[in-house]
C-alpha cells in the first residue's frame, strides 16, 4: 500500500506539489493522471526517494519514507520512460548485477532472471548487449530490472511513453502478468488514458500540484456526467488545471 499525506515539494523556489494526499491500495493498480506539469513525475520521484519531500508523510509498504528511505528503496521497483540501461552490458549481466546489488544470492538471482526473462519473452535476447535492443525490448529489460528483487510496490512513470502502439500494447499486456504485477501495489503514471482505464482500479488525478480526483474510473465518469472516461478526464482535470493556472506542456514536473 502507498499512503501519501499532505505532500509538499518545491523545486527552484516554485511549489510543484502542494499538499498531495492519496492512497494506492495494496495489490491493485492505481493510475496517476494529470496534464503536463501537473506534478506526476515529481510525485514519482519523491515516492522513489530520488527527491526529498519538503513536508508531508509517505508510507510505502508500511515503511515511513522519511525514517527509512533505504527500506523504501528495497520495497519498490521503478520503471521510467527512459530505461537507463548500460548499453555495453548484456541483458543477463544487467539483471544479474541488479539482483546481486539487491542482495540476492547468486543462485536465487540466476533463477529469478531466468523466470522473468522467460515471462517477458526476453530469452532470445538475454546475451545481447542492451544497446542493440529495440526501444520496446529495452523497456522490457527495464521492467525486469525493476522487479528482479520482487518488490511489493511497483512505480511506473509513463513506461509506455515513446513506444509505438504495438510495443506499448505489448508492454501493457506484460503489466498484467502475475510475475510482474501479481499481488503488487502498482502506481501507474501515464498519459495514455485508455491504458489507465484498462489497468487501473482507481485513478488519482493531479493538476497544479494538487489532487483533484481520487476515485474509480467509473466514478469519474459518473461524477463528470461525460459519456466516456477520456471525456470525463478532460473535463475535470482540464478545468482544474486552468483554475490552478498550471500550464499544460510545462517543464517535466
Amino acid at each position: 500500500m502507498i499512503e501519501v499525506d499532505s505532500l509538499v515539494k518545491h523545486l527552484g523556489g516554485r511549489p510543484v506539489l502542494d499538499g498531495v494526499t492519496f492512497t494506492a491500495p495494496a495489490g491493485q493498480v492505481t493510475g496517476l493522471l494529470g496534464p503536463n506539469g501537473a506534478g506526476k513525475t515529481t510525485t514519482m520521484r519523491v515516492l522513489s526517494t530520488l527527491l526529498r519531500p519538503d513536508r508531508g508523510t509517505i508510507r510505502i509498504a508500511g515503511i515511513d519514507l522519511s525514517v527509512d528511505p533505504e527500506g523504501v528503496r528495497r520495497a519498490i521497483g521503478l520503471v521510467t520512460e527512459e530505461p537507463g540501461l548500460l548499453d555495453r552490458l548484456t541483458v543477463r549481466e544487467q539483471l544479474l548485477f541488479t539482483a546481486r546489488a539487491y542482495g540476492l544470492a547468486p543462485e536465487a538471482a540466476a533463477e529469478r532472471v531466468d523466470l522473468l526473462t522467460g515471462a517477458l519473452d526476453l530469452r532470445g535476447q538475454i546475451d545481447a548487449r542492451t544497446g542493440t535492443l529495440s526501444k520496446g525490448n529495452r523497456q522490457k529489460v527495464s521492467l525486469c530490472r525493476a522487479i528482479v528483487h520482487d518488490p511489493p510496490v511497483l512505480l511506473l512513470d509513463e513506461p509506455t511513453s515513446g513506444l509505438d502502439v504495438v510495443a506499448a500494447a505489448a508492454l501493457e499486456d506484460l503489466l498484467r502478468l502475475e510475475e510482474v504485477s501479481g499481488s503488487k501495489t502498482v502506481l501507474l503514471s501515464t498519459h495514455r488514458l485508455e491504458e489507465a482505464e484498462r489497468l487501473a482500479v482507481k485513478v488519482v488525478g493531479i493538476a497544479g500540484g494538487r489532487v483533484v480526483v481520487d476515485c474509480t474510473p467509473d466514478e469519474l465518469v459518473a461524477r463528470s456526467g461525460a459519456p466516456s472516461f477520456r471525456e470525463a478526464f478532460v473535463r475535470i482535470l482540464g478545468a482544474a488545471a486552468l483554475e490552478s493556472g498550471a500550464a499544460p506542456g510545462g517543464p517535466g514536473a
Binding site: R74, T80, F97, D150
Partner: protein, 393 residues
C-alpha cells in the same frame, strides 16, 4: 527469495563490478586513456630536452660546487673565476651537481702547488650531460685552464718557470650516470609522473558521472538500497580500477624503472620496497583525484564545467609536481600531513633513500582521508534535487 532481501556489502561490490565491466567494454575509450599519457609525457619529455639543449646567453656566472682542498687551489680558482664561474664549497660535489649546481669539481690537494711544479693532474668534473648550462660551464672551465697554460707559456718564455704544458686532464663525469645523480633524478621524476598520471582520473571520472546523469543511468543506481556514500565509494572503486588499467603502461614502466635503478644501487630487497612504495603512492595519489572527479561530476551542470574543473585540477597537480617533486625548495617532514603534496614529497624522499617510512605512512593516511571526505561529500550530492532533476537531461 522473498522481499525484503538482505542487502550487505555485496551491493556496493556489485555496483563497482557493473561500472568496471561497462568501462572495460568501452575499449576505444580505454585505449585512448592508455595512449594519452604516453603521448603527453613523450611530448613533455621531448620539450624538456629541447629546452635543455638550448643554453641562452647568460650574464650570471655558472655555479660550480667545489669539494676538497679549496685553500690549496686559491690561485687557480681566482683565475677561473674570471671566466664566468663562481665557486661554492661543498662536501659532495657530485650530489651538488645533481641537485642544481651547474658543475661539481673535486679538487686534488695542493692544486696551485702541483700546477707550479708542473705535475700531471687529473681533475674530476661532475656535470649533467643533458643540461646545456652544465656543458657550457665545462667549456668555460676549459677556457679558464687554457688561460692558466697561456700564463705558464708566458712564464716559460720569460724564463721564469719549468717546461711542462697541458698538464691538467679534465675527467668529465656525467652525474646522471652516478649513483647519487640517478637516484636524485628518479626520485624527482617518478612522483611528478605519478601526480600527472593521477590527475587524469579527475576528468575521466567526472565525465562518466555527468554522462550517467544525463543519460538516466544514475537513477537505477540511486534506487538501490545502499547509503549514498557507499554508492559513491563503489563508483570510486570502479573508476580507480579503470584508471589503474588504463594507466598500466605508464605505471608498469615506472615500476620497472624504479626497480632497476634501486636494485643496481641497493639490491633486490630495497628495490622491492621502492617499487612497493611507488605502487602504494600511485594509489594514494589516484584516490583523491577519483574522489574529486566524483564531486565535480555530481556538482557540474554541464560538460563545460567538468572541463573547467578538470583544468583547475590539472594546473594544481602540475604545480605540485613542479614544486614538490621537481623543485629544490625546502620540504620539511611535516609536509607529510598535507594530502597529495605530502605523498609526493615523502615518496621523493623514500626513492632518494633519505625518507622516513613513518612520514610516508602519514602522507598515505592524509591523502586517503582527503579521498574519503570528498567521496562522502560527493555521495551526499546524490541527494540534491539538482542531480536528480538532471537525471534525464
Amino acid at each position: 527469495m522473498r522481499w525484503p532481501a538482505t542487502v550487505d556489502g555485496g551491493a556496493t561490490a556489485a555496483v563497482a563490478r557493473l561500472e568496471l565491466l561497462d568501462g572495460l567494454r568501452g575499449r576505444r575509450q580505454l585505449v585512448v586513456r592508455a595512449i594519452t599519457p604516453l603521448v603527453l609525457f613523450g611530448v613533455v619529455l621531448g620539450a624538456s630536452l629541447a629546452t635543455r639543449g638550448a643554453d641562452p646567453v647568460r650574464t650570471t656566472p655558472y655555479r660550480v660546487a667545489v669539494e676538497g682542498d679549496t685553500a690549496g687551489a686559491a690561485e687557480t680558482l681566482r683565475v677561473l673565476a674570471g671566466f664566468n664561474l663562481v665557486f661554492e664549497p661543498t662536501g659532495d660535489a657530485p650530489l651538488a651537481a645533481a641537485r642544481g649546481a651547474d658543475l661539481g669539481v673535486r679538487l686534488p690537494d695542493r692544486l696551485d702547488d702541483r700546477i707550479a711544479r708542473h705535475e700531471t693532474i687529473t681533475l674530476a668534473v661532475f656535470r649533467t650531460v643533458t643540461s646545456a648550462p652544465s656543458r657550457s660551464a665545462t667549456a668555460w672551465m676549459e677556457v679558464g685552464f687554457d688561460e692558466i697554460y697561456r700564463r705558464q707559456i708566458d712564464a716559460l718564455s720569460a724564463g721564469r718557470g719549468g717546461a711542462a704544458l697541458d698538464i691538467i686532464t679534465i675527467d668529465r663525469i656525467n652525474v646522471q650516470r652516478l649513483e647519487q645523480g640517478t637516484r636524485e633524478l628518479s626520485a624527482q621524476i617518478v612522483p611528478a609522473l605519478l601526480t600527472l598520471q593521477a590527475v587524469m582520473l579527475v576528468g575521466s571520472t567526472a565525465t562518466r558521472i555527468l554522462g550517467r546523469r544525463n543519460r538516466g543511468l544514475l537513477m537505477a543506481q540511486l534506487l538501490l538500497p545502499v547509503p549514498r556514500y557507499r554508492l559513491a565509494a563503489a563508483k570510486a572503486r570502479a573508476e580507480l580500477g579503470l584508471g589503474m588499467i588504463a594507466g598500466s603502461p605508464v605505471l608498469l614502466a615506472t615500476f620497472v624503472y624504479v626497480g632497476i635503478v634501486t636494485s643496481q644501487r641497493a639490491g633486490p630487497i630495497a628495490a622491492t620496497t621502492a617499487v612497493g612504495a611507488t605502487a602504494v603512492a600511485a594509489v594514494a595519489l589516484a584516490l583523491p583525484m577519483v574522489a574529486l572527479g566524483l564531486f565535480i561530476g555530481t556538482a557540474a551542470r554541464s560538460q563545460e564545467q567538468v572541463t573547467l574543473g578538470t583544468a583547475v585540477a590539472l594546473v594544481v597537480a602540475a604545480s605540485v609536481a613542479a614544486t614538490t617533486a621537481l623543485g629544490d625548495f625546502p620540504r620539511p617532514s611535516s609536509l607529510a600531513v598535507v594530502p597529495l603534496v605530502g605523498t609526493v614529497s615523502t615518496l621523493r624522499d623514500i626513492l632518494n633513500a633519505s625518507g622516513n617510512p613513518v612520514w610516508f605512512a602519514v602522507s598515505l593516511v592524509s591523502s586517503g582521508l582527503l579521498a574519503w571526505g570528498v567521496t562522502r561529500r560527493a555521495g551526499r550530492r546524490f541527494d540534491t534535487d539538482r542531480v536528480v532533476l538532471r537525471i534525464d537531461g
